[in-house]
Point group: C3
Chain length 278, copies 3
């Protein structure tokens, strides 16, 4: 089944909080302009203000969707001089949001940005021009019009792609026996995602059967590399490849982040050990 | 694009909590009766039991939607003698919910109530007649039938509009140099919304470039009136007009409510000062 | 109105957390395969890891929906040897998820399981075969294909129904004057749901007008059986039949769970008293 225009979808992600009235207002605004456009909420539980983390999360999620129009909003600079933009990616997606590095970071998972425009044409925006809620007044109305067939070039003047805020890079340094990285996310189950992929370890020649000494601040643990939570004994810390390829510190049905006192941003050192734990 | 009957939408807001099974059950109930009706969740993160705050929030949100059928539920009196009602507003919306002031308050943003009915006809309600979950058993089934074309007059007997619970009024007193108001909401970012609009200050002749001494309980701060979060220095308290016209106490990328120890209901006194802070 | 294939719906419930990116990713995966299939989120706020509680909640909710395809995921054993399954219920629903007792428990509310298959045919699953996110890689893709008309028998080999993990049973013991049960849930309003239905009390000959001494750990209260929250005085503990038939300990506009220090799993003893409280 190929979606016709009547099945056009807009993906939507923000740090507005689950089921907040900001999310609902944006849905209502889109539906008023484009009543037959479907809205797919990717997440609204992104950490407030944290553009870098949002970029990591959405970079991983977007490839699972069909090429789509997407409104992506974590926007601490709302109302300042930062531009409102829409970018087309090589895969065909059109991303709408602030020019703060979020869209360009996500675009790297979609073939990169091939065309960029500033959102300046007011006829595709709300007449309520707030300085604090551009999702409602600019991003969602523009996305709704795009879903109805508006050409990208009509939202406003084309921008030099090099003028966009550059994508973020995960902070990680890998040597033969050591990995310096950070916690990028703590999920609902207390799993702590690190800024290093399983692939990166592999490329550095670090074999998958190894265990690691994990240090964070005062805390030290031995973590065993495992394939599933179930491979871990009670209270045993594990290092698992999550479903997006990132390494995570985990426990079996318990919260590793709590045990190791980890928050997003916590610095982590992994040191390879010969499987000597017992 | 004008929605045909196949694009009929029901707006839905409640204090059931984000993604709670109560919300999901209501969606399922609507979809069973009206499988092609779209449901737009305005919010389900409303503060439990707080009808007044819900009224303020939904009063602001509803005008952004097309005239619609809406189920609005914050209902601490569920199962008591309070009536279940549906009201038509001048703009064309039909609001379904409890007669506790919520619907009449929201209606003031939609031209006011022009017709009201009590929900008594059981053939448009669920056979499971609980005394604690009228959203599932009464409000949503009735809204679903309305979305299929049921006439408002068929849901039950017409009510005298004057017999409805009266709308709430924000508590605020403005004099030439002083504003007594309250915190009506603290959002996810820690911004504290006050029960006074920028327009009201204007009408009272208080110029927008002023700063205010903000007092709440023991705490006192100077707040500068700014247009965007970005205009504030680190740790500087600002007074901003939010996207719905309300004044809010804010910090730049930090939580003003925490700094000033504010909760919904906190009494706030604003006193005009000549810009003497430095 | 009878839904045609273009109104096919998938119900979706999980412990992923409200509006988490896992929920959004699953929506995107379904929409990519089946762009016209509607997704109805029953809840994503289920308690992490708690299969038994999820079974209780979804057992109650599912009968309110039309017979549907449903993806139900609380899956602490993800990646272990536990099977991924789809079961058809007597009512017509097809439930997709892990074989850990969740689906069979929910099925008891839908006429029981009449056919079961293991999900092994990879052509209906995602190529990203993670060991931690089967909702994305197995359950949702299979459900999406089923919504397009795939026959249940094509997802993988048929299973002996007796080989499935058995349904859970609520833990409750009722004698003439005493009920030993447990708290199965604490809701957003602080109501504590017990593992005993009003019907069960009735069948045991315990009249509905009785009051009970409620003991939990050190705490003891007298709870009066009432029909609505409103029947309770300030600070009076009530025992109410909730909208799904379960008994709940409640206060009027306050949190009974906090007052009695109750969590899911708390052991509760109810002892019948002659209405002597005052």
């Amino acid at each position: 089944v190929k979606p016709g225009p009547q099945h056009q979808a807009i993906l939507f992600a923000s740090d507005f909080g689950p089921s907040s009235e900001w999310v609902g207002t944006c849905h209502a605004v889109i539906a008023r302009i484009a009543p037959t456009t479907r809205i797919i909420d990717l997440t609204h539980a992104l950490v407030p203000f944290d553009v870098t983390l949002a970029a990591l999360v959405l970079h991983d999620v977007m490839p699972f969707a069909s090429p789509s129009i997407a409104v992506l909003v974590v926007d601490p600079g709302v109302g300042s001089a930062r531009r409102a933009i829409a970018v087309r990616c090589a895969r065909g997606d059109v991303l709408v949001g602030p020019d703060n590095g979020l869209l360009t970071s996500v675009a790297t998972a979609l073939g990169g940005v091939v065309e960029a425009h500033e959102l300046t044409d007011l006829q595709y925006q709300n007449s309520t021009h707030s300085s604090t809620f551009h999702a409602r007044d600019i991003f969602c109305p523009v996305a709704a019009h795009l879903s109805l067939g508006l050409a990208l070039k009509d939202v406003g003047p084309e921008l030099d792609i090099d003028s966009l805020t550059a994508p973020f890079q995960p902070r990680v340094a890998i040597t033969r026996d050591q990995v310096a990285c950070e916690v990028t996310n703590v999920d609902r189950f207390g799993n702590a995602r690190l800024s290093v992929t399983n692939d990166a370890l592999h490329r550095a020649g670090i074999e998958t059967q190894d265990a690691f000494k994990v240090s964070s601040g005062e805390k030290t643990e031995i973590a065993r590399r495992v394939k599933t939570y179930h491979d871990l004994g009670k209270d045993e810390v594990g290092l698992i490849e999550d479903s997006f390829g990132w390494l995570c510190l985990v426990l079996n049905q318990a919260a590793a982040a709590q045990r190791l006192d980890l928050q997003p941003g916590s610095r982590i050192d992994l040191e390879r050990v010969q499987c000597s734990f017992n």
